[in-house]
Structures are given as C-alpha cells and as structure tokens.
C-alpha cells in the first residue's frame, strides 16, 4: 500500500490523513516485513485507500451510514405507513382465524362449491377434494389453510389495487412511463431483498410485514397485464364505441375492461402463483403455513418434514393454477368461440 501513501504525501495530505487515525494497528504484512511485488497494484477502493489514509471512510462505513439513514427515517416512515397498512394486518389475522377455525366439514363442501362454480369442471373439483383429504389425512390441513388464507387476502388486495393501477397506466402514457421502472424493479429484485427494508420498518411479529412483502412481489403481473389488455383492445371496437358517443366511463366499463378480461385474468393467475412462491419465503419473517414446515426441515435437518410440506405446496400450486386457468378458459370461450 506504499503506493497510495506516497500519493497522499506527494499532495501534502499526510497530516490530514493522520488526523483521522485513532489507534494505528500494525498490519500482519508489515510485521513480517514482506515486500509486495511492484505489479501487485491494488485498485484504489475505499478499504485500500483507508489503509493509506485513515481519514477516508471504509466501505463498511458506507453501508453503516445507509443503515443509520434508514434508522433515522424509520420513525417518520412508521408513523405514515403504520396506520395505512394496519388494515392489512387485520385482514390477514381475520382470514387466518376464519380459515383455521371453521370446521373442516364445513369448509370442504364450501371449497367444492367455489371450485365447481369458477372452474365448471368435475375433474378439477374431484382433484381439489382429494388434495384437501390428503392434507386432512396427513395433518397438514391447518398449515395448508393458513397458506391459503394468506394467498387469498394478498391476491384480493393485489387485484383491488392492481387493476385500477393498470387502467390508469393504460390511459396515460406518462403514468406508464413512470410506473414501468418501478414494476421492473419490483420484479427483478431478489425476493429476499424485499424483506430487508420491511424488517427495518415493521416489527417482525406483525402480519402486515409478510403481507406487504407478498403484495409488492405479486402485484406486478396483474398491473402489467391489465395495462397490456386494455391497450390491446381492438381499435375498431373502440372507434365504434366512440362513434356512438360513449362517455369515457361507459367505454371503460362496457368495452375496455370486459375485452381486457382474459388478459387481466391471466395476470391474476400469475399473481396467485407468485403469492404462493412468496408466502413460502415469507415464513422467514413469521408467516404461518406450509412454509414454516419447510423452514423447520431446513433448520433442523428434518428431511421428511420438509419433503411432505414441499409436496403440500406443489399440490396447492396445482390447485390454484388449474382453478384460475379453467375460469380464464371459460371466459375466453364465451367471447371468442
């Protein structure tokens, strides 16, 4: 590191550098008195420069200052976000309560009816029923219900927030230009990275922590496909609607949204699948459900527990996918033959 020391003294900065020195530790290298080869020039990174001149911060100082910054704005963020997101906690809590405390012999027929109504296929209904019986028989039922209730709440919220956002995006190019980078970021950030700022802001025991993580991750497709679907609506049909003097509102609800419905539903399907993926990871931040069993399997090396929970998750994924896809297919059929 002699190279950088010389640079600093050349510019007459030695004094400034030394002023930052607290307790100079003698490095191992200089104790051994090893000469570094001349070609071994290090990159002037923060850490290397710090060694030569104590007044320059280390890389760790940078990350630490990020943390400090976060901690600094945390109270104000909390005062804003806490009340806004509190309903999410309530919704998750009550859905969890409802799904896990309703006796299985009431829920099972209800599920049958719901699946039959939305998918209109006896095969799928039979599959769903046998899966639920499998959960019941292997005592995974309450875990599966917890996972399902979280997905249910998050998907509903994703649709309630995502569809109007997508509509706004389709109507205004400016909104689209502003939102696309945000959506790109939400979609490309590794899933674990979502959890970090959320843990900073909320208490880890609050349900809204994982709820938010799931919603942020899963809302992207429903927004994107709503936007796309509305933009793809046949220009001729829009022109006809305008020629007969439809108001913007009539156009939206009578033409654009119904015609974009297949795309919107495809977005909902993806949103459901992504919520499922995230709810498993969110067990790291105390989301209940099948994910906790997987986590237990990893932490305590209980292969069997993790494996069974894995199968449970796969089954849940198949159920959700089939039911939402066949609802989508049915919709396409009535519109386009």
């Amino acid at each position: 590191m002699a190279a950088f020391e010389n640079v600093f003294s050349f510019f007459g900065l030695s004094e400034w550098c030394d002023s930052g020195k607290q307790k100079a530790l003698i490095s191992l290298k200089s104790l051994k008195n090893e000469e570094t080869a001349w070609w071994d020039i290090p990159f002037p990174s923060l850490d290397n420069l710090h060694k030569a001149c104590a007044s320059i911060p280390q890389s760790r100082d940078l990350t630490a200052s990020l943390e400090d910054g976060f901690l600094y704005i945390r109270p104000s963020l909390r005062t804003v976000l806490d009340p806004i997101t509190q309903p999410l906690s309530w919704m998750l809590d009550s859905a969890l309560y409802l799904f896990t405390n309703t006796p299985w012999w009431i829920l099972l027929p209800l599920f049958m009816l719901a699946v039959q109504w939305s998918a209109r296929s006896w095969k799928i209904t039979a599959f769903v029923v046998s899966c639920i019986i499998f959960y019941l028989a292997t005592d995974h039922y309450s875990y599966a219900m917890q996972t399902l209730s979280i997905i249910f709440v998050c998907t509903v919220l994703c649709v309630v927030i995502g569809v109007p956002t997508g509509i706004l995006m389709a109507r205004s190019n400016t909104v689209q230009r502003m939102l696309i980078p945000i959506l790109d970021m939400l979609q490309t950030l590794p899933t674990f990275v979502y959890l970090i700022p959320l843990i900073f802001i909320f208490k880890i025991t609050e349900p809204k922590l994982y709820g938010l993580a799931i919603i942020l991750y899963a809302i992207v497709p429903v927004i994107r496909l709503t936007d796309l679907g509305i933009r793809l609506v046949d220009k001729d049909v829009i022109e006809a609607a305008n020629a007969y003097g439809m108001t913007k509102r009539q156009l939206l609800f009578n033409v654009q949204v119904p015609l974009a419905m297949p795309n919107i539903m495809a977005g909902v399907n993806q949103t459901i699948m992504m919520s499922l993926a995230m709810v498993v990871i969110a067990s790291l931040v105390s989301a209940p459900g099948l994910g906790t069993l997987v986590l237990d399997g990893i932490n305590n090396l209980r292969l069997g527990v993790g494996f069974m929970a894995g199968i449970g998750i796969v089954l849940l994924a198949i159920i959700l996918d089939r039911v939402s896809k066949s609802a989508l297919k049915r919709m396409n059929k009535t519109y386009h033959g």
Binding site: D236, Y244, G245, P258, T334, Y335, G337
Partner: protein, 357 residues
C-alpha cells in the same frame, strides 16, 4: 306549390363541408399554405414529411339521399367520413350541420350529436364480441341510458327487418360476415339517427352477399329516407346506390355530381379510367340518355326512365332504329332513339377520337 316546396325540402343540404383540409404530420399548419388543387401528394410527402389526407374538400350532402364517396385506396375516403362525426380533427375548414360548425362543438355537445344524430357502420363490423346480437343492436339506446324494454323492442324490430330473427341471443363470432354486418346495420338503425355513415360497409363481403346487402340498403332507404354517406372503392356499387357521387383522388375531389352524368361526361382522365371498365348497358339509365322532349314520330313502345339501357335493348329485341317514349310514373317525360342508345354504350373518349379522325 306544396309539391315544389316539398321536393325542394327533400333536396335540402343536410351537411355542408367547406374547404376542409387534413394533413397528417408533426406540424400540419406549416404545410397548409403550400397546398393547392391537384398538388402531387407524393411530392409533398418527400419534401415536408407530411401526408395529405384531405385537400380542400367542398361537398354538400343532400338530406334524405345517399351520397357515395368513391376513390382508390389511400385517397382519403375514411379520413373524410371520420370528419363528419369528428373521430378525426381537421387541420382547417368547417363542417356545417343546421348552420352550426360541428368542428366547434364542445365535448359534451359532440357526444350528444354522436349519440342522437349520427350512426356508423364499419368495414370490419366492429361489434362488441362479449355482447349478444341483441345487446349489440341496443348499443345506441344503451349509451343514451334509455328505457331497456322500449329499446329492446326497437332492436328486435330492426333485427327482423334485416332478417336476423332468431339470432338475438347469439354472439357475433357465431355469425357469418354478412350476418354480422346486418347486425351492424340494425345497430345503426336502432340508434334512430338521421345520418348514417357507412365506411366500406360491404367491402369485406363476398360478391353475392354484397349484392343482397346493397338491395337491403336500398330497400330500407325506400321507407326511411336517411341521409346516408356511403364509402366504397367499387364503381359498380357506387353507381348502384348513389344519388350523389363524389370521386376522391389523393385527398381532393376530382369530380362530383349525378353518377349517370359522371359516366357520360367524365371530366378527368382518372375518372375516364375508372368508368372504362363498367358495363355501360347495365349501369346507364334510360332517363339519363333520353331527350327530354315529346316526339312527334311514331313510337315503338314505352319504357320507364329508371330502366337500364340493357333492359331497353332487350325490350326492343335487338332492333337498332326504333324510337321509344320514356315515362315516369306513367307520364311521358321524353323519348329515346335506339341509335342514341348504342352511341351511349361506347366510351366518351372513343367517340370523340373517332369523330376527330
């Protein structure tokens, strides 16, 4: 006296298009002063990067009549018809309806105009795919938030007029193209608007269906007397249904007037070329070739002025010399000599060039 004012009224100008210009591009106003009649469209495009859509259009649309706008692809037909209900905003000019310039209407007035006075039929039908035939037909009253029961009755009536009873609950994709377009027409009629804009309404249909749709339209027009603006690139279709024909080329009007008159007196090589391929015997009517005076000579028979020359030749059984009285509602209005008939069958420029020889 009564009858003259009435006939005057039926030929009233409903919509008057005045000096209408449309230029597509980034700065249309800057190109506007450079335009003049017959300017080369490709040249303007090369020099300024702007496309001329419409170049100084002046057309009077007669109330209760069918005005046909004809021209080749890209001549600006769709652009023109979309100005009438302002689906496209012009660069300059005015469109007067009841003395009011449509182009100055505020949004709500424009919407009201489209809801109550204008209906439109589209080349690609443009039905709502998620609505049944009946719901599609009820579009206009639905947009106006009218009483469901009454408008459903009306929609069913028009569906039966276009011979689609029994298909009320079908979806558009279950119908053939011809049937879908009949739904399009029923939708336009259910709106009860006095104007009907038809942009190549029959172009997507095969020839037989097309002829029957033209007949249907003429049939309906017989009792409805709507003001119809009809677009086509097909001369035979234009001649069959037009009361007034406007020929467009590169965004300007080459010639307009009575279609029979245009065939007999084409004013421009472009139109001559257009009319050169038609079957003149079938298209020309006795009334447009006859002499409007009663003859003193002996006539071989009489014929209605609406009949085609082909029908007269058939009636004369190939005779080339006779004279026929021409009637309109059993009243003699003129006479026609067979020699005239045969002369009219030969193209205008051919007769003149032979005479020049």
């Amino acid at each position: 006296m009564m009858t003259t004012t009435q006939s005057q009224k039926s030929s009233d100008v409903a919509i008057s298009i005045r000096n209408l210009f449309k230029i597509f591009g980034d700065d249309p106003k800057s190109v506007l002063p450079q335009l003049h009649d017959g300017i080369d469209k490709a040249d303007v495009q090369r020099k300024t990067g702007h496309v001329i859509g419409l170049n100084n259009i002046n057309v009077d649309i007669q109330s209760g009549k069918i005005t046909v706008i004809m021209g080749l692809s890209g001549s600006g037909k769709s652009t023109l018809i979309r100005h009438i209900n302002r689906l496209i905003e012009p660069t300059a000019g005015e469109i007067l309806l009841d003395g009011e310039n449509i182009l100055n209407l505020p949004d709500d007035k424009l919407r009201q105009l489209r809801q109550t006075r204008m209906s439109m039929v589209f080349q690609k039908f443009a039905l709502l795919p998620h609505r049944t035939v009946l719901q599609n037909t009820m579009l206009a009253p639905m947009v106006r938030n009218e009483d469901k029961v009454k408008s459903e009755k009306e929609a069913r009536y028009w569906l039966s007029r276009v011979e689609l009873d029994g298909y009320e609950d079908a979806y558009p994709h279950q119908l053939s193209g011809g049937m879908q377009q009949r739904v399009g027409i029923a939708r336009a009629l259910t709106s009860n608007a006095d104007f009907m804009l038809m942009d190549e309404a029959f172009s997507a249909l095969d020839p037989l269906i097309r002829t029957s749709m033209q007949d249907l339209l003429l049939d309906l027009q017989e009792d409805l007397h709507k003001t119809i603006i009809f677009i086509t690139h097909d001369l035979d279709e234009a001649l069959k249904i037009a009361d007034h024909l406007v020929v467009l080329k590169d965004g300007f009007v080459v010639q307009q007037g009575n279609p029979q008159h245009i065939i007999l007196n084409p004013s421009d090589p472009y139109i001559e070329e257009f009319v050169s391929d038609i079957n003149r015997a079938r298209v020309l009517r006795v009334g447009s070739v006859m002499k409007p005076s009663k003859t003193t000579k002996k006539t071989a028979g009489s014929i209605d002025s609406k009949q085609s020359l082909e029908q007269l030749i058939a009636q004369a059984d190939g005779d080339v010399k006779g004279i026929y009285a021409v009637t309109e509602k059993d009243k003699t209005v003129g006479h026609i000599e067979m020699t005239q008939v045969y002369k009219a069958l030969v193209r205008y420029n051919l007769t003149t060039s032979r005479r020049a020889k």
